[in-house]
Assembly symmetry: D2
């Protein structure tokens, strides 16, 4: 089994063992992702460059972990849905127009 699938299975078992699925509704996981995103952002609150690398990695892992859980609750494969979204993003940002600029697609 590939690494990502093993991780996904580990997270599933972790929640099952603790009977936590009852708390993991889509809305509660959406809240959790926002909360953890805020903790990740806190690593950069007063400086863009002077951050604690270990803290950043740990907070990033928390956000991504909840993303995996949300994909499980929605019964989709997280890698698949990112690929699907990439299909449309590639069309919204054609290389020749988007190269070197951070402009949003609707203003390109």
């Amino acid at each position: 089994m590939a690494k990502f699938e093993q991780l996904s299975e580990r997270i599933r078992q972790f929640n099952k063992d603790r009977e936590w699925d009852q708390f993991h509704t889509p809305v509660n996981l959406a809240k959790s992702i926002s909360i953890e995103a805020g903790e990740l952002l806190e690593c950069f609150q007063w400086s863009d460059t002077d951050y604690n690398r270990e803290d950043v990695i740990a907070e990033l892992a928390d956000v991504a972990n909840y993303c995996v859980q949300m994909s499980q609750v929605l019964d989709v494969n997280l890698v698949d849905i990112i690929n699907d979204k990439m299909d449309s993003t590639e069309k919204k940002y054609p290389i020749d127009k988007a190269k070197g600029v951070s402009t949003k697609y609707d203003k390109l």
Copy 2:
């Protein structure tokens, strides 16, 4: 190559083609994760249960995509760091104490 590694490579190429790496500092990606997390949460703004499944999936993909990008900028493997964090989370929430309750570890 496994699915997750293929996706990661695709995202890397997407940014390289557009010369977007210059914008993808850790702090900008942390902001981006928070911004997309807010858009995901917006799907549930006024109702916990009456949400548009397609919108939720698309927004979740955006959050997770930026998580992959942040792991690339930090030069870590996203699956590995989630596994590392799971190691400590499993210790913070022993099954016998955590079963069936949503209490935070420092109050268990």
Copy 3:
């Protein structure tokens, strides 16, 4: 002096005494507002109704305090800009169309 103006002056003096204006750039305050909004949301992470009222009030105060600080850095009056925004919101949501529904204005 009215209550709001007194508070605003108190916050200004607090920052001046600590020489903190150097940290309070617009972007850092925008990050701070998101971070504190995440802490407020955390009060409701696993339950919509079973929250600690004192915690909620303290976190709400933190978000609002950073809003006051951001208005000071932008050199605008917070009450005035909310009123200005209300002018346009009232037009976007006419009573006869918006009554009793949470639909966003662009779908009304």
Copy 4:
């Protein structure tokens, strides 16, 4: 009536006219504050300094407006609770220790 109280009354009437109080539970307002905070942050997504001032002001007004609404739902005065929180913040950050540094109080 002072400006802030007039604004608060205007917001109350706006919601009453539209029968929107039914949507404005504490958790929904906490979500709304996070969502709007994300939109404010989006003004600074790719640059700390190159932002649209009008957009920033409009988004800040949205965050602050929801803070007023949350204070109404909790039946507290927003200015009072910020003042209460300032009382404790002033003690957590004594001038002689906090001057010129952005260190969090638990590491001062």
